[in-house]
């Protein structure tokens, strides 16, 4: 299996990427009769790694397992060189981890400063002065200096999200696990988040789950697409976009043969699938590639051959 390709088995990084710091083999997780992860193999190197997939695909379950808050049913894990299934390994990972859950929850009666300070103590920062300096630093990074002493209950949803991001950045962790970090952020804040991640998380391994394909295109060096608990793609964002090569068309009218079609802001109809009459081919985006992938159950041999060539 190559880095830029459809995945059915192990997904290793390309030769020009650094060696992986996080890898999973045969990862399985079941909740009652629901299979959340079905034998997932993946490897993530330092840099920003995106996880794409529809709701219920298993993204959050995978991130929770890697963040050591949920045990896997089966599979082998290697996180930052240790096995987090053992007590010592788990502690070692937690000491080097920054985690933003999908729904982090906040103590509404705490101020932003108090909350991040509380998390800093849980991350073993016991000396008050350096801890407070670090708390101010991370709150400054997300632009909350002026409101850090306001109660969280009085902050907007986007600002609470930024409090969550700030606590994840405490101590410049080696592994950042961010579950939908840009949910609830306005476009300007999302751009700021990208800027912040590009610098603050440089050198770290970042695992980022998102529904925003433009975030993936802008941020990620590596992207994994999860569908029904299985990895369906592992590669670069451009590789994912390439799945839709020669399949994205712009036409003046909707064509019934299109797999997907929608009206763009310019009044044109963007088609994915067979070319409509009078349409012209356009450059595919990551979103097009994702939609092509999500629109079918299994990748075809033709896809794999096309990518290999």
């Amino acid at each position: 299996m190559t880095d830029a390709g459809l995945a059915g088995g192990a997904a290793g990084p390309a030769p020009d990427r650094p060696p992986p710091t996080v890898s999973v083999r045969g990862l399985r997780k079941r909740f009652g009769t629901t299979v959340a992860l079905d034998g997932v193999d993946a490897a993530f190197a330092p840099g920003v790694n995106g996880l794409l997939g529809p709701n219920g695909a298993g993204k959050t379950t995978m991130l929770r397992i890697l963040a050591t808050v949920l045990p896997a049913d089966a599979g082998r894990l290697d996180v930052l060189g240790v096995d987090p299934t053992g007590g010592d390994g788990r502690l070692s990972v937690r000491r080097r981890l920054g985690y933003l859950p999908q729904e982090p929850g906040f103590h509404r009666r705490f101020t932003a400063f108090e909350f991040v300070d509380y998390v800093a103590i849980l991350k073993e920062w016991v000396d008050r002065r350096p801890r407070h300096d670090e708390v101010r630093r991370v709150l400054g990074l997300v632009g909350l200096e002026a409101v850090m002493h306001k109660r969280i209950g009085r902050l907007s949803g986007g600002m609470r999200r930024r409090v969550g991001i700030a606590q994840a950045l405490l101590g410049r962790p080696e592994l950042l696990v961010l579950d939908e970090p840009t949910a609830g952020l306005d476009p300007e804040q999302r751009l700021r988040f990208r800027e912040l991640l590009g610098t603050e998380a440089a050198g770290a391994t970042v695992l980022l789950s998102t529904h925003q394909t433009d975030d993936v295109a802008a941020l990620c060096q590596h992207v994994v697409v999860l569908l029904d608990g299985r990895i369906r793609f592992s590669g670069t964002p451009s590789g994912l976009a390439a799945l839709a090569a020669d399949r994205v068309w712009l036409a003046s009218e909707r064509d019934v043969r299109a797999e997907l079609a929608w009206v763009t802001g310019e009044g044109k109809v963007r088609h994915i699938g067979e070319p409509p009459v009078g349409a012209h081919l356009v450059e595919p985006t990551v979103e097009d590639g994702y939609l092509v992938l999500a629109g079918r159950d299994t990748p075809t041999d033709a896809d794999a051959k096309a990518l290999a060539s």
């Binding site: 990427r17 650094p18 709701n55 219920g56 050591t68 788990r90 998390v119 849980l122 016991v126 962790p173």
Partner: protein, 294 residues
Amino acid sequence: MKRIRSWPGERSWSVPLRPGAADGPGTTRVSVVRDGRPPARRIAAALGRIEARKLALSPWFLVGILLCLATLQIFPSIDADIADEATSMAKILQDMPFTAHPFVALMLLAGNRNATRARRDRTEELFHACPATSATRAAGALCSTWLAVVALAAFVLAYLWLTASHSESDLGPLGSAAVPNGLTTLVLGTGGVALGIALGRWVRLPLAAVAAITVIAVVDTWLSAGDPGVIETPMLLSTLGTSGSGHPQPVLTAGQAWFHFAWLAVLTAATAIVAIAPFGRHRDNRVPTTRPRP
């Protein structure tokens, strides 16, 4: 580019330049290293400062303080007025655990609210990904009990001083059982907070603290019932002491007072150990029952 301010007083996100900011993928990243790893007790102590602040600001604590102030306003003057052979400073001090019970009950509720905060606010998943365990967090909450002890100590001293200052006659010395009787009141405050934390950590029922207070009230009343003028051993096993029977009782001997204190101290220590016990599902901070949202 124009920076949009989305909230009054808020500045835009910024990324200050600092050493290491230019690190690229592939470089070895090292977390901010702190000398050594702190023992759990230092983490608990640091958490305790925040927990004590939250306890002091909790409505339950404030109601408890108001109740104490109301008690100080009313009862010392009554005690002083009815002073006779049956009411002495020693007897008043002996009755302090009974008088302090409403405050202790409110501290139990406050401790319980602190201990269940993570569950109520759904921050457990985030906290579970941190190196400090839930046992350490509970120990942090337990470190806030000094606040209850200080408040009760101030209450007892104020009560005795006000009674003495209101009384026209000599109420006598505090007696040989003064130390254990005073300590009994203070240990009750610790026990109340500890029980609230233990219940918050191990019992998932929302009204567990209220149920516990009810049970304690019933059991205490039953234990402290006895013949008037006679102190029986079951009375010493009640947190109320000898005043719950509703009948005038003689002053405890030093031995009896020390027995009562020791019993409550053991009970409090056992409750505190349960509150911070690192076993079961709390041992390794995992939430195996969490289900993904569809």
